[in-house]
């Protein structure tokens, strides 16, 4: 699955369609994540954990 920040969500959709994988599981992250500090990155990771597991199980993305 792909983790995509909100600023790149449209691009993710575009590329997924272009390469013939329009339904590839994706999960939206806040933007930016990069360079926001370890504490914030842990918060982001915690917030998406359940969504990642659900997507990998194939029961939602």
């Amino acid at each position: 699955m792909a983790l995509v920040t909100s600023a790149f969500w449209k691009q993710g959709d575009f590329v997924a369609r272009s390469v013939g994988m329009p339904d590839v599981p994706r999960l939206m992250l806040p933007h930016p994540v990069s360079a926001t500090g370890k504490e914030n990155m842990r918060r982001v990771a915690d917030s998406i954990r359940d969504g990642v597991i659900a997507a990998l199980r194939g029961d939602g993305s």
Binding site: F8, K10, Q11, F14, V15, S18, V19
Partner: protein, 369 residues
């Protein structure tokens, strides 16, 4: 009634759009995101057909797939881009070759079009085609006023938008871009240069007409005042150029010298180096050795990109001298230019050269723009 050929835009399903007038057609193309923001020539079927003929190829010939949309760049769609850009029919073979070049895997077009970096393809034209179509290599070669330079570079950009799907903020994620993303095309001043032409140094015959595409940032002006009485002048010039190549903010310095750098020497600067015994290869080797930063410098500025090692390690901005594209262009004077690059992508965004092929084209009587 004007008919607009919009195939390949990625935004419309109809092959052709109708409009009541050329003005309405232009507004429709702007609305669909099919322009670069400037007015275009309306690509009517008649105009496109004329340009297909000028290409010398069949309209449905696929030149390559353009990422990130992976649209098939047929000759017809490329001809439509050339019409829109304001090209003349004689320019079409150059545009076709440029599209073939950026479609080569080692150019990494998909990644290049999608990156947040500002990179844009710079077109360098060599060979007899320069005079045949009026490409400028002298004063102002990268500036306004030269139709072939302006429209050929623009046609490639429009193909990248409409066939490749690189629309800003959707697929083209450049944070700012740069003005060379409108058009970025010049010819080499082969006749004025003491060095062999760039395309010859890359394995082509002097008689071949060749386009070389390289991903490039906006040019940095490099000022150098020569002094015929100063034996150190060549070394000072090389160190000045190297300082721009190793610009600490550029990707070449930050991510370790994997990318191609273009150096456009004006005739005076080329002469300084030639008279000191340098050929193109010698200049490249010298610049590759001089364009360095210490790891300590880079670590102090951007520790996450500096890698492991001692502070006094020297990090080259261009590891391989072959990754320095050195050419002569521009007017006589104090200023040369350096274009650093993105350096990323699966192939580190290699420069690609493509021969320009001229078909057995002829004009259709009475078929004018």
């Amino acid at each position: 009634m004007t008919t607009i050929d919009t195939r390949g835009t990625g935004l419309v399903t109809a092959d052709l759009l109708d409009a009541a007038s050329e003005e309405d057609a232009l507004e429709a193309l702007h609305e669909l995101g099919c322009t670069d923001g400037l007015p275009v020539v309306i690509p009517t079927p008649e105009r496109v057909a004329r340009f297909v003929l000028a290409s010398g190829f069949d309209g449905d010939l696929v030149l390559g797939d353009l990422g990130p949309g992976l649209g098939a760049a047929t000759v017809e769609l490329v001809a439509a881009a050339a019409v829109m850009a304001g090209c003349l029919p004689d320019h079409v073979p150059v545009v076709v070759a440029a599209v073939q070049a950026v479609a080569q895997p080692e150019f990494d077009l998909t990644e290049m079009q999608a990156t947040t970096h500002c990179t844009a393809p710079l077109l360098i034209i060599n060979g007899p085609v320069r005079d045949a179509v009026g490409l400028q290599s002298g004063f102002g070669a990268l500036g306004p006023g030269f139709r072939a330079n302006a429209t050929i570079g623009r046609a490639l950009r429009l193909a990248m938008i409409n066939i490749g799907g690189a629309r800003a903020g959707v697929a083209d994620m450049a944070l700012l871009g740069h003005p060379g993303k409108f058009t970025y095309c010049l010819a080499e001043d082969e006749e004025g240069s003491p060095f062999e032409p760039l395309h010859v140094s890359r394995g082509w015959s002097p008689e071949a007409s060749v386009v070389t595409v390289v991903g490039a940032e906006a040019p940095q002006s490099v000022m150098f005042v020569g002094d015929a009485d100063d034996p150190d002048a060549p070394d000072r010039l090389l160190r000045t150029l190297a300082g721009s190549i190793a610009n600490v903010g550029a990707n070449n310095a930050q991510i370790g010298g994997s990318g191609v750098v273009t150096v456009v020497l004006n005739p005076d600067h080329t002469a300084v180096l030639h008279e000191a015994g340098y050929d193109r290869k010698g200049v490249a080797e010298a610049l590759s050795g001089l364009a360095v930063n210490t790891r300590g410098t880079m670590r102090a500025l951007n520790p996450s990109m500096a890698g492991k090692g001692a502070d006094d390690d020297l990090i080259r901005a261009v590891r391989n001298p072959d990754d320095l594209l050195i050419l002569q262009a521009g007017g006589s004077g104090l200023y040369s230019m350096v274009m650093t690059s993105w350096c990323a992508g699966p192939h580190a965004n290699r420069a690609v050269s493509q021969e320009i092929m001229f078909g057995q084209a002829c004009e259709i009587p009475g078929m004018r723009l």
